[in-house]
């Protein structure tokens, strides 16, 4: 009952707040909008000084953005997976400044170079670091009619129609996030051929694969074919993807317009391998001398021979006052079922029993109970641990003074834990924009978000374009 109420209150809060703002703006338009055009604008003349352009230091092919960000984190005290703060120590402050350069020089009529690199300086509580990352760097050749295109180099591709999740984004798994307005992950080396036949766009590629720790490419390869068909207000894409270790994924995505204000989209992807480990009981509890060792759980490869599906359905509606709402329902069979989640909970309980995680137990990897807690913490890097989610995003649109409010709720429908995000943006000048945002992670004990080490974090960032 309590779980339900947390979720319900959050969702209601969003809708009630949205309705109030909408009603307020509607009433404003009724009050002032009824005023008829009374002036004769025909006599209005253009002031030449207005049209003067502020010259940019950079050529058109170059986009340079300076980003300054300061974040304060609040971590959970007595975190279940980090008892007595033994395994992990978290930073509480992060200052980041970065220069993000996108440069796309045209080398000839048919050949161009496309690069994006980021120079970053990060200062944490205890250390600082500076580094430069090449996010993308590739050559692009296209024929005169632009119906055959070849790209070779380090490329980051975005496939899919979803907003918060993209099940058909198979090349860069685990890159889903509630923050979708900036990407900092690097691409992978690939050779890509794109060709157009009638109203279909076909993409064929061979690419390397990222290591799980994102440190670089390993020796594995992946290949994909995607066909995208456009007709009237609809677009449909079909996908086939295979890795060198025989993991096959097929998928489809679509978007369509039902009216000028209403867009709908959906995605489905099915894979013959699960994208995460499953959980199993490794041993029952037993007495060894004076010590009782509780039951032990471990993560292992899922050996079930079945397909794992991901599905998403969503819609976007724009109101007359520029307010925009995105709604998505997401189901992933890769996520942990109720039975598996019970096992994870029991595994945590058992590992914490009589502080057995502290005991000096010999195994090839140290104390297996401690190892289980640490591995479970590692799962948090995966965005969607469970199977069913709801996503709501509401933006006000830019006000006359260039303020904008964005509210996001990502609700886990299996345990009703949630991520709530509020963002306040303001454009101060033609080049400068600031954003203040706060993320809150809430849920009951043993829920997905309660296992998240963050309780909340807030950021202030300033972005300057050149």
């Amino acid at each position: 009952m309590k779980r339900l109420s947390i979720a319900a209150i959050s969702v209601r809060f969003i809708f009630v707040l949205g309705f109030v703002v909408w009603a307020f703006q509607i009433s404003l338009s009724v009050a002032f909008g009824a005023e008829k055009l009374s002036e004769s604008y025909q006599s209005l003349e253009f002031d030449e000084a207005e049209g003067e352009e502020t010259s940019s230091l950079l050529p058109e092919s170059m986009i340079l953005v300076w980003d300054i960000n300061y974040t304060i984190y609040a971590h959970r005290q007595d975190h279940l997976l980090n008892p007595e703060k033994t395994f992990f120590s978290f930073d509480h402050r992060k200052a980041l400044t970065s220069l993000d350069l996108e440069w796309t020089p045209k080398l000839s009529e048919s050949l161009s170079l496309r690069t994006r690199e980021v120079l970053e300086y990060i200062s944490l509580d205890r250390k600082s670091d500076i580094g430069i990352t090449l996010l993308e760097g590739y050559f692009e050749w296209k024929n005169r009619h632009q119906d055959v295109i070849v790209d070779i180099g380090k490329i980051k591709l975005e496939w899919g129609s979803g907003y918060a999740w993209r099940p058909t984004q198979v090349l860069f798994e685990g890159d889903n996030s509630v923050d979708t307005d900036k990407e900092s992950a690097a691409g992978v080396e690939m050779a890509l051929l794109e060709f157009v036949i009638k109203n279909t766009t076909n993409t064929l590629l061979v690419a390397g694969m990222k290591d799980e720790d994102d440190s670089g490419n390993n020796n594995q390869l992946q290949a994909a074919y995607r066909i995208s068909l456009e007709s009237q207000s609809w677009e449909l894409s079909l996908l086939y993807h295979k890795t060198s270790d025989a993991v096959i994924t097929t998928g489809l995505s679509f978007t369509g317009l039902l009216s000028d204000a209403l867009e709908i989209h959906g995605e489905w992807a099915s894979s013959n391998k699960r994208d995460r480990l499953t959980i199993a009981k490794a041993s029952d509890g037993f007495q060894t001398g004076p010590v009782y060792l509780p039951a032990r759980y471990e993560y292992k490869q899922d050996s079930s021979h079945r397909n794992f599906d991901k599905m998403l359905i969503g819609a976007q509606y724009t109101f007359a006052n520029d307010m925009n709402v995105i709604f998505e329902l997401y189901r992933t069979m890769h996520g942990y079922s109720e039975t598996e989640w019970q096992r994870i909970q029991t595994g945590i309980d058992e590992a914490l029993t009589d502080n057995v995680w502290k005991n000096e137990l010999s195994s090839s990897q140290g104390n297996p109970y401690a190892g289980f807690l640490q591995q479970t913490m590692g799962l948090n890097e995966t965005v969607s641990l469970r199977q069913n989610y709801l996503f709501l995003r509401w933006t006000t649109g830019e006000s006359e003074d260039l303020w904008e409010w964005e509210q996001i709720v990502q609700l886990n429908l299996d345990d009703y834990s949630q991520i709530s995000v509020g963002k306040l943006r303001k454009s101060w000048s033609i080049s400068t924009k600031t954003e203040f945002s706060c993320h809150f992670f809430r849920g009951d004990r043993y829920s997905e978000q309660e296992l998240n080490p963050y309780a909340e974090f807030c950021s202030l960032s300033m972005v300057m374009g050149f």
Partner: protein
């Protein structure tokens, strides 16, 4: 009664023969030549300056590529949105967000450039999007004009109906009033000035007025009209990441 009806029909028929002037379609096509190069590929620079009472005007600078009913728009200013790009295919709108490779679909109702709607930026050819009917000749604000009523050919078009006044002597657009499906007046447009480019006159300034909010108006300044050999396949959403 039947005789009266017969005479009325004959009179209407004779009036049509006697008029002998340009048809609604011809007037509209001629007016369109001042806004682009018909169905051929072309590009232009566009500055949008939006005014609101007691506010500093906001400016957007864009490069627009057009072919038939498709437009590709690249944002150059303000600097904070440089790199943003949009593809218009009738009502289908795709947006590329800078610093990502994400291309998302947006609905036509979403506004990204102040008072100027997405459709206002992309609209260069009324002949393809609207069916014209000649209402007659009228003097409007001191100019003798043909008055046309344009009705959208399908749902993909931004405005349901446009009342359009074209100067009789020159064929240049003079004024238009744009309506929604519910007959609500959404925009009033004055075609303020024209410039000769490569021997052809093109619109250089357009004034767009929001009739619902006093003091809200937008200037659209057109420059550098150029015929271009733009391939049909340039206008694909995949190309938004390749501009």
């Amino acid at each position: 009664m039947k005789k009266m009806l017969f005479f009325q029909i004959v009179l209407l028929f004779l009036a049509g023969i006697a008029y002998g002037g340009p048809t609604a379609g011809e007037i509209l096509q001629k007016a369109d030549t001042f806004r682009g190069f018909g169905e051929n590929g072309f590009s232009f620079d566009l500055m949008i300056i939006s005014h609101r009472p007691h506010k500093k005007p906001s400016k957007n600078r864009l490069i627009v590529n057009v072919k038939s009913q498709k437009s590709l728009v690249k944002f150059l200013a303000p600097k904070r949105v440089k790199g943003r790009a949009m593809l218009f295919e009738g009502r289908n709108l795709w947006l590329k967000i800078p610093r990502t490779r994400k291309v998302i679909r947006i609905s036509p109702a979403q506004r990204l450039m102040g008072e100027a709607s997405n459709g206002d930026v992309a609209a260069t050819n009324f002949s393809l999007d609207y069916k014209p009917v000649l209402v007659g000749e009228e003097e409007v604000e001191g100019a003798l004009c043909f008055h046309l009523t344009l009705t959208a050919v399908d749902r993909r078009v931004t405005y349901h109906k446009i009342e359009y006044w074209v100067i009789k002597e020159t064929g240049k657009p003079f004024k238009s009033m744009h309506y929604s499906v519910s007959e609500k007046l959404l925009k009033v447009v004055y075609y303020k000035s024209f410039e000769k480019l490569n021997g052809q006159e093109k619109i250089s300034r357009l004034l767009l007025i929001n009739p619902l909010v006093k003091g809200n108006y937008t200037w659209m300044i057109y420059k550098n009209y150029q015929r271009e050999d733009l391939g049909e396949h340039l206008f694909r959403k995949e190309n938004l990441n390749r501009l």
